[in-house]
């Protein structure tokens, strides 16, 4: 079936008109909220140890309450530069002699003693004997486990539209004074039922490594009529300012682990048998933007607004897009 070129803009216009009916003029503050993990460690991996996988290193992905697993940088490891995509882990650490004297297959604790231990009682809060006698800091005979030096990783992002009051400019200085995102100033964002299920990603099917369950994480909003940022974002880039501080109290530890055999251990259980890896999480990035409608005179194009109003129906000035729109049916409106 062939269609004329006219079909495409007509269809697009009809779709836009349909969609516009469902967002007609309601003021909305639109958010993007990203969760990050940090302090990533691995103690016991046994994925891809079979005959056909000569190289044990692989990329890991995360399925969670805020995202699905992707073959990107959701849970970076340590094999390779942190600036590259897919920094890998040794997915079969169980097969290697410990300590790994040249630290090429395992990398933690590091010989220089620079990398801090996990903040939850390492090495005595897991079920593995191989790390019980690691030195407190540095030296030889150290590399028995793995850690990632690559800093915080975004593992899921939530987009939300929250209904707010219309934005207002009371003194006519074109700097908005009330309404909009400011309705949400001081609100807290809470992400509950947090979990990360970490997989070794593979063409032949992904291998589940460990599920980590976390308590609720919070962030407080600081909002103007046009934007919302987190209270602790003083350079306005959306990122929480202490996001790279691995010791920040905003990072929370897992309270529960579930391994690839379905075994469950609380972090307070003796031996924490189901623990194979560790990580901390928090809300890492928050940005909210008012998405209209704006009051008359907002756009820096007063003559365009006036001309549009003078044209009358079906033309209406769209102060959110700062353009004159034809609001009639596709038969009377030319395609945009």
């Amino acid at each position: 079936m062939k269609h004329s070129h006219r079909t495409i803009p007509l269809l697009a216009a009809a779709l836009a008109a349909f969609a516009a009916q469902s967002l007609s003029g309601q003021a909305v503050c639109s958010f993007s909220i990203s969760m990050v993990n940090h302090n990533r460690y691995a103690y016991d991996t046994a994925e891809e140890c079979s005959c056909c996988h000569s190289i044990p290193f692989g990329n890991w992905g995360v399925s969670s309450n805020v995202g699905s697993k992707q073959d990107t940088n959701q849970f970076q490891g340590w094999s390779g530069s942190c600036s590259q995509v897919k920094v890998q882990w040794n997915s079969c650490s169980r097969e290697y002699v410990k300590p790994d004297l040249d630290c090429r297959r395992l990398n933690f604790p590091d010989p220089a003693g620079q990398v801090p231990y996990p903040g939850n009682g390492y090495p005595f809060t897991d079920s593995y004997g191989h790390n019980n006698s690691v030195p407190i800091a540095g030296g030889t005979h150290t590399c028995v486990d793995q850690y990632s030096p690559c800093g915080p990783n975004v593992y899921g992002t939530v987009g939300s539209h929250v209904g707010v009051s219309a934005i207002q400019d009371w003194d006519g200085d074109n700097i908005m004074d009330t309404g909009g995102c400011k309705d949400l100033d001081g609100y807290q964002i809470g992400v509950q039922q947090n979990f990360m299920t970490v997989y070794e990603l593979d063409w032949e099917g992904d291998d589940l490594i460990n599920s980590l369950y976390f308590p609720t994480v919070w962030v407080t909003l600081r909002c103007t009529p046009e934007t919302c940022l987190a209270l602790n974002d003083n350079n306005f880039d959306g990122w929480l300012d202490d996001i790279h501080n691995r010791g920040s109290s905003e990072y929370v530890q897992p309270y529960l682990y579930q391994d690839n055999h379905g075994r469950i251990s609380y972090a307070t259980d003796s031996g924490v048998l189901a623990k194979r890896i560790d990580a901390t999480i928090r809300i890492g990035r928050v940005s909210g933007y008012y998405s209209g409608p704006y009051p008359p005179g907002y756009c820096g194009n007063p003559s365009g607004e006036e001309q549009c109003i003078n044209q009358g129906w079906p033309y209406q000035w769209d102060s959110t897009a700062c353009v004159c729109r034809c609001q009639g049916s596709p038969s009377i409106c030319p395609p945009e």
Binding site: L11, S22, F31, G186, G190, N234, S287, Y298
Partner: protein, 320 residues
Amino acid sequence: MPSKIRTKSSLAALLFVATVAAMPMDMTAQPSSLPGGKITGRLLDRDTRKPLAGEVGASFVANGRIIFKHAQATAGGEFVLDGVEAEKVYLTTKLDGYAVEHESVALRSGETKTLELALVKPTPLRGRVRNTAGRPLAGATVRVIYPSDAPERGEIRTTYQWETGETATDARGGFVIQVHPEKAFVVEASHPDFLRAVSAPGQVKALGQETAVDLTLESGVTLAGIVKDGEGNAIQGAEVRLIETGARRATPGFVSHALLEQQLRLASSGADGAFRFDQVSHTTKMVVIIHPRYKPFRQAVNVNRDKAQSPFNAVLEPQN
């Protein structure tokens, strides 16, 4: 428009599927003895009616908080969301191999509501991202945005990463995203070295499975400046807003967070009073600078496509 959709279909088909997509689901209400409200439900395949062990995200606004909850369905497809404090809750499904469905649920305190969420298989949408010279752009981030009904004041609508199908273009600028076959969508593309772009609206079921979305990304310009007081001293920590006041790229009915971020840029002046915005679009802007010890500064800037931008110098007057 920097985007193009190749289509094969009819408007009638589109309106039909839009009507079907808007059909409400069966819900029954009963009293609950638990504090807050409770939602119980079942996920199932719309075609086979088989239960699905998926997941459900719930979001709501209540008592000065924006809350995101989550529940895992059993093998029988049953899920429970407990302790829901809000009157209006927005649900989002999650299951690999199925398109996302949403449901708004009104809930009174102590009430339990039961519902079914029927899922359909997604359809692959292919496309390509290029620069204005027609060369393919690898590594561009591409995601799909669907329209949502407008939330009333205090209500929320939520989209998770698994719904937008966020992915990166390959070496040939190509991408494949699984999209809902019955919903209208736009495709948003972004790349650190280019301005963001959004396609015209489309819908796979109406347009046909051979639909392809091509997006072209333009380069922006850099706008840098310095904030000083009347005596020439640098002012650190001023909030600098760069607001698009000329024609904005927006598609009615769809909210692109990437475009919103591009239309209102924020920066903070450094110790030397300097600020900088990269990838600024070629349209009229307003620079607004705010610092608690100075009067707000506001000046229009016309960003020219063909000319390098001169450094922008702002002199702030102290508050009286």
